[in-house]
Amino acid sequence: MTGALVVGVGESAYSRGTDRSEWELAVEAVSRALADAGLAASDVDGLVRYSYDEVDEAMLSRSLRLRLRYYSQTGYGGLGAPAVIGHAAAAIASGLARVVVCYRSLNGWSRTRYGRAERTLGAADGSRSGDLTASGDRAPSGAFAGPYGLLSPGQVMALWAREYQWKAGLTDAQLAGALGRVAIDQRQYASANHRAIMRDRPLDLSGYLAGRMISSPLRLFDLALESDGAAAVVVAAPSVAAALSRPGVRVLAATAGLFPYAESVSVYGELRNGPQYRRVGAELLRAAGVKPADIVAAMIYDATTISVLLGLEAYGFHEPFTSWRAVTAHGIGPASPLPVNTSGGHLSEAYVHGMNLLTEAVRQCRGESASQVSRLGPVLVSSGPSAVVLAP
């Protein structure tokens, strides 16, 4: 156990289209998380952010009059959601900080489209004939991928999905049945969640299959939303948490794992249910003192539906290349053996780069989710080789 406790969560409204800046949304989400915790900005002495965030420490320090003793950043985008908790817990355990705010603010609809390649290649101005340069060796859009038109994370995950399909020996229809079940069940969760962008858009299998093919075998509803919004959590030392009106959520264990080619959206290493990923999962659960069967809900980073199947296998809920069968049969909904992404997740709530999975995990531990699981207990939040186990 790390000793740190999550004592507050907050978010801005989630939307597809806002006239408010990421700076404003970040301030709002952090303010709400502090109010939720019963803390003031003057109590905050630590800040952890995503290196990708356009809102930096100085901006938040100024707008909230923060006096920081500690600040740090996590890399690789969506891998950051569990990792921020690891940073915060480490800072607290070492005495470098007592109250650490973690946030992500992303206008992914109005500003930076993660489904598009303009953010990495630059915009093609139709009136000019300049070459676009694909730099670095990142899988989508890097030098060894961009010239071949492998440009977006979703296209890389389509490669993961096909590899999974082939290694599991599935027909196209079997793969679509499993992935569709993920999309449909998460949409069902969204219908109960007033924050969810897709709350009024029910989805069934025929609707899922009618979604246009984006990058085979992934269709429209296999892909995360592009949305505008910010979310934040407050992590505190036990002495701080003890004085608050409501019990904190314990951070049982956290890992920010990395090994060759395990950075986000790579294709060069093993598939993300392979032995190295499963080792990360086993070590995390051992550190948390729990078994997969103890976990009451899991928030598995769902940039695309295939990531949910891979995560279920990496963290020990199923053997490699078998989760598709259980998901097809039982789903991931409220009555399933393991409810997953119970807010609707990135597919149907909003895409806040994992931070909205973290806020939902905290709500599940508090018994406050819109789709509350019946038994309170440990909740996993994972994103590839980064993960955290929270518990009431």
């Binding site: 598009r116 340069t133 961009g146 038109g149 440009l151 290694k167 085979s216 060069y268």
Partner: protein
């Protein structure tokens, strides 16, 4: 046109790639084969990497048919196939796949690269289905 960003490390790689040839790095000490290129061998600081021409042959590990353009630069190429190839020398290689429909692609299918026009418009190694036997 989508062109690769070149560096001192990769300039030779791209000169060969524009002729349709894949260069890989091999370590003289531990025989590790690397792609994408790296400045040092992960096997040890005294290990020495050198470039060699890949056979261009391998097996199809995965593919996607891109049907929605993520950038205007590839819109007129839709749909196009991106393949993941496990080269016979070991590393994984990303390229386009030509001359086949998705229905013709099977797990582990033998492929070979040859010069072709990549989806981004540049002349680069692209894969086609091959009927050669796998290396023993």
């Amino acid at each position: 046109m989508i062109v690769p960003g070149e560096s001192r490390l990769t300039a030779g790689y791209w000169a060969a790639a524009r002729r349709g040839v894949i260069l890989l790095q091999r370590c003289a000490t531990c025989a590790a084969v690397l792609h994408p290129p790296a400045p040092v061998c992960p096997g040890g600081s005294d290990h020495e990497l050198s470039w060699f021409e890949a056979s261009g042959r391998g097996r199809l590990a995965s593919f996607t048919s891109v049907e929605h353009a993520a950038h205007a630069a590839v819109r007129d190429r839709l749909p196009y196939l991106v393949a993941l190839v496990d080269l016979d020398e070991g590393p994984r290689f990303i390229c386009n796949l030509e001359g086949a429909t998705p229905a013709e692609l099977t797990p582990g299918a033998r492929v070979v690269v040859r010069p072709g026009r990549a989806a981004g418009g540049l002349e680069l190694p692209v894969a086609v289905l091959a009927d050669d036997p796998p290396p023993s």
